[in-house]
């Protein structure tokens, strides 16, 4: 890029999002001020703000980002890997409570961890994605551990969850945990570097980020349009995407399960996701995804794999073990390598996409081509 401006205001943010279709709808720019709102799967700039510098621009995960500074500032150097970010450990777990598992997408690990964090007082409020009754989820706040599970289940449309954190941090809450997609976790990471002193007290309330593995998210309008003819008026109970070999989306409705080929769904993928390097929510304290077990999809569906990245993440994992909140089983051999491979594939596709979008290897839109990490990644597949 010609200039790598790490500061800007709403006008620059708006221009960047509109020019490159970069917006992930994470909600980081929302509820910091009255100017920007998240509505119908998009950010609406209600009024113009003429500040040269603003938090909306600074926190956005798709404005120019110094990747190395984020990793170096937030994680133990010893834990950092180019493929998966910081890794303290890989676990395969599921919620011990069958009631949580029933409501969960897979093993219910996220719900169990958040409920535990609330119960143990590690956090006093949890920000989760909530089903709004429509396809579009929204960020919601839960303070009662027993309510966590009712919000379980994967959302294939990104909810503006960070906006809920922004709202919450302004108020009474003192210790906040957030369940975040990779883009949301990156926004929270950018906040954690405290570019604005005035916000330090808000961001200090962020005590836990549980990340969600994410291949991509879908555009609400487009997904709704694609699903509509399949649904024939019936309500969606659950959406899922089995491992890549299945190449389909499973839509469970009152009428039963409909399988829709992924190639039919692909056009609904948010353009911003194509430029995302992060499959495993590397900027979280710990990250959770569906497990890949030897017994295949049937078995894997009931379990999660968890990457622990920080001390806070490790502490919660240890608590879960001690309290019996999670059941553990051994990770299959090669699980870490499979994850790394999948993660690197996403990184490579994303960097290629960004270069293609800008038309130059030297312009990666929101990433700095001279960032040591970016250079290292490029070198790693050049070597293959």
């Amino acid at each position: 890029m010609a200039t790598f401006n790490k500061t800007g205001g709403q006008q620059q943010l708006k221009a960047a999002m509109q020019q490159s279709e970069l917006c992930t709808n994470c909600g980081a720019c929302v509820d910091l001020c009255p100017y920007n709102v998240a509505f119908n799967d998009r950010i609406v700039f209600l009024d113009p703000c003429d500040r040269d510098e603003g938090r909306c621009y600074a926190f956005c995960p798709r404005t120019p980002t110094d990747l190395s500074a984020l990793y170096d500032g937030l994680f133990d150097a010893a834990d950092l890997t180019p493929e998966l970010g910081a890794v303290k450990g890989l676990y395969v777990t599921r919620a011990a409570d069958p009631a949580i598992r029933d409501k969960a997408q897979h093993g219910g690990t996220v719900s169990a961890l958040m409920a535990l964090a609330l119960k143990e007082g590690m956090i006093d409020s949890a920000v989760l994605a909530e089903d709004s009754g429509e396809l579009e989820p929204r960020g919601t706040v839960v303070a009662d551990a027993d309510q966590v599970a009712s919000h379980a289940g994967s959302k294939f449309v990104v909810s503006p969850t960070v906006a809920a954190f922004n709202r919450l941090a302004k108020g009474e809450a003192q210790a906040i945990g957030v369940v975040a997609t990779p883009c949301q976790a990156m926004a929270l990471a950018k906040m954690r570097l405290k570019p604005y002193a005035a916000d330090a007290s808000h961001i200090d309330k962020l005590k836990l980020v549980v990340g969600l593995f994410c291949g991509w998210a879908l555009s609400l309008q487009k997904l709704a349009g694609i699903l509509e003819p399949h649904l024939k008026g019936s309500e969606i109970l659950k959406l899922d995407i089995p491992p890549s070999g299945h190449a389909c989306m499973e839509v469970t409705t009152e009428q039963g399960m409909i399988t829709i080929p992924l190639e039919e769904i692909n056009p609904a993928i948010r353009p911003a996701c194509s430029g995302c390097l992060d499959m495993t929510a590397e900027f979280a304290d710990l990250s959770v995804g569906s497990a890949r077990l030897d017994g295949g999809w049937e078995e894997s569906q009931g379990w999660n794999q968890v990457l622990v990245r920080t001390e806070a993440g490790q502490k919660l994992m240890d608590l879960a073990k001690d309290a019996g909140a999670l059941e553990f089983r051994e990770a299959p051999a090669g699980a870490m390598d499979k994850l790394k491979q999948a993660s690197m594939n996403k990184k490579r596709r994303a960097l290629e996409h960004l270069a293609a979008q800008s038309g130059s290897e030297d312009d990666l839109i929101y990433l700095d081509p001279s960032d040591p990490l970016v250079i290292k990644l490029k070198q790693s597949w050049a070597a293959q």
Binding site: Y35, R42, R55
Partner: protein, 637 residues
């Protein structure tokens, strides 16, 4: 007692031009007066309404100008002298009736006063209504002095009665709203009983008879004009330049010649009877000089008519040079001023220069006007419900995201086109045209138009001209959202009552014609909200925009801030908790004073904090609901 009803013949009083016209009607024994308010004409009927009961005159604010003219005609038909006043656009509304009335003829004297607004200082458009007199074969008078304002009305009544046609009188803003001395005449007593002679029906047909008769009447008017004192000449016998002028041009020209020291070089012929032209008088004037300059407001009306007249009499009058709007000597739009008239005259004379301004005096004047008159942007008042409405509209349209827009018309809410209405209003034409134009947009969904359309109109405009458009939308299935901004007043023209207010022009109570019930009777979905509840209003507008199945009507009911303040019923006392105010910091950036921009909100650059200007704040409390930090506190009064 009003200045208008002083019964002291010979006494001289200072009257506003519109009051002089009203006094002329009183001295003519007028007994029915009707109008729809509109600047610069409103004070004619407003001042008559104040003395109506005292003098036995019926005065009404009609729902629109056409109805007002019809009310006046009914009285005239039954032998009662009547007057109808309107602004220039008003005549456009009324002219359909007027151009039948000229053929059916009138009974008792009937005068139609039209006040033009050069440069559209308080109007949507600029137009010269004098053309209507020529097109409709009606006599037209233009007062040049305040005394004439009164006297011409009396002449107009007499002539109307004698010829059996309405007589028009044209004013302009600077005549209507300026003041001058007027010597009073008698206020007649004695009243006839109204009676409509059914053996003389008022029918415009057969036109071969009625139109011919109208032309004869007009010719008679032209002859009568010759003897009137309103046409006069002042200046040397053989001026090197003859100025033909009318209306405000009389004073402007006299002042200009004085400053130019050209009174012995230039003559002024004042034409008070602009249509039909007094042929003999015009011939006499044209004979005085080879060079003729026309000074008149807006269009080259006198100029064109005199040139047409000259074409028929060129052989007798010899060669002439005509100067005016057509030749570019005088601007062909906008408002005349003593300055531009002076420049025009100087430009037509050799060795004549506009005297330099007294710079010291000019500086003093500039300083005084800066000191005494606060500079402020044109916009909605503090606490105006329309600001809250446009805020909700702006947000609802932004959330909707399909590029929807507002079409509107004339009223305070026309400020919706400017900063105080967040530039939401995108079309503005005649009264009720927002609703009408929306009918057209609302039919285009069939061709793939996906921008939702909102129309706005005020409550007075609703009765004036919106009802037919809404009926049309319902009948023809147009997809539109109508916002009726019901502030219980005809606010822009001076708070005149209308059918929804429960009061009449003369101060009596009247049955309230309920806007909501009228809307409901159309069978449309109707919702009533308080626009001060910005959140609810935004959500409702958004929801209604999602329905593309015909007309939806949202009545936004909240009394005009000025009316509320005058009633002493402010809703809230508002103040800023400076400890919470973020000022220019990220998170606010002067949201209240920079974005919402109510004039009651201030920002102190030194402290970096918002504040409330208590002298201006009307206590609507909307800013308190918008402040992101809840730093604006409202306390119910």
């Amino acid at each position: 007692m009003s200045i208008l009803s002083i019964d002291d013949p010979g006494k001289q009083l200072l009257y506003m031009g519109n009051e002089a016209i009203a006094r002329g009607a009183i001295e003519s024994g007028v007994r029915v007066c009707a109008a729809y308010p509109g600047n610069p004409s409103s004070e004619i009927i407003a001042s008559l309404a104040k003395v109506g009961k005292e003098l036995g005159i019926y005065v009404e604010w009609s729902v629109n100008e056409k109805v007002a003219l019809e009310v006046a005609a009914g009285a005239s038909f039954a032998g009662i002298r009547s007057l109808c006043a309107m602004k220039h656009n008003g005549l456009n509304v009324a002219v359909d009736f007027l151009y039948n009335l000229n053929l059916t003829g009138t009974g008792a004297g009937m005068v139609v006063v039209v006040a033009d607004d050069p440069l559209a200082l308080s109007s949507s458009n600029e137009q010269d209504t004098r053309h209507y007199a020529r097109m409709g074969d009606l006599p037209l008078l233009e007062p040049g002095t305040f005394q004439e304002g009164k006297d011409m009305v009396k002449t107009a009544f007499e002539m109307s009665e004698e010829l059996g046609i309405p007589v028009m009188l044209r004013s302009v803003t600077r005549f209507s709203h300026a003041r001058g001395n007027v010597t009073l005449g008698d206020i007649p007593r004695g009243q006839n009983k109204p009676f409509f002679d059914v053996t003389k029906p008022r029918l415009p047909k057969p036109v071969e008879k009625t139109h011919k008769l109208l032309h004869e009447k007009l010719a008679t008017a032209g002859q009568k004009f010759e003897d009137l004192p309103f046409n006069l000449y002042q200046g040397p016998d053989k001026p090197e330049l003859l100025i033909l002028t009318c209306g405000t041009g009389w004073y402007y020209t006299k002042e200009a010649l004085h400053h130019l020291k050209a009174t012995d070089r230039v003559g002024i012929a004042k034409v008070g009877t602009s249509w039909p032209l007094p042929a003999k008088f015009i011939t006499e004037q044209l004979a005085k000089s080879q060079r003729v300059l026309f000074v008149e407001e807006i269009d080259p009306f006198l100029e064109s008519n005199v040139k047409t007249f000259y074409a028929q009499n060129a052989a007798e009058l010899g060669p002439k040079e005509f100067l005016g709007k057509v030749t570019g000597n005088v601007a062909d739009m906008g408002e005349n001023t003593p300055d531009n008239v002076m420049a025009a005259i100087a430009g037509c004379l050799d060795d004549c220069v506009v005297p330099a301004r007294d710079q010291e005096h000019a500086a003093q004047a500039a300083e005084a006007s800066k000191r005494l008159a606060t500079t402020r942007a044109l916009g909605l008042c503090a606490g105006c419900p329309h600001r809250a409405t446009y805020w909700a509209v702006k947000n609802a349209l932004a959330l909707d995201g399909r590029g929807g827009f507002v079409v509107g018309d004339i009223g305070c809410y026309a400020q919706g086109r400017g900063p105080s209405g967040f530039q939401q209003m995108k079309t503005m034409h005649a009264m009720g045209s927002g609703a009408g134009v929306a009918n057209g947009f609302g039919q285009l969904t069939r061709f793939g138009m996906d921008q939702p359309v909102l129309a706005v109109c005020g409550d007075s405009t609703f009765f004036h001209a919106a009802i037919p458009a809404l009926t049309n939308a319902r009948y023809n299935g147009s997809n539109l959202l109508m916002l009726v901004l019901d502030n219980s007043a005809t606010a822009m023209t001076g708070f005149q009552p209308h059918p929804g207010t429960g009061r009449t022009a003369m101060g009596d109570t009247a049955p309230v014609v309920d806007v909501t019930k009228v809307c409901q009777s159309l069978g449309a979905e109707v919702i009533v909200l308080d626009p001060f509840d910005v959140q609810k209003t935004t959500e409702t507008i958004y929801d209604l925009l999602q329905k593309q199945d015909g007309i939806k009507i949202l009545v936004l009911k909240q009394v005009c801030a000025m009316v509320r303040t005058r009633m002493g019923k402010r809703l809230y006392k508002v103040h800023v908790d400076e400890s919470k105010c973020l000022g220019e910091a990220c998170g606010c950036n002067k949201y209240c004073s920079r974005v919402f921009k109510c004039p009651g909100l201030t920002f102190d650059k030194t402290t970096g904090k918002a504040g409330i200007d208590e002298a201006i704040c009307n206590g609507c409390g909307v800013c308190a609901s918008l402040c992101p930090e809840s730093a604006i506190i409202k306390e119910a009064l």
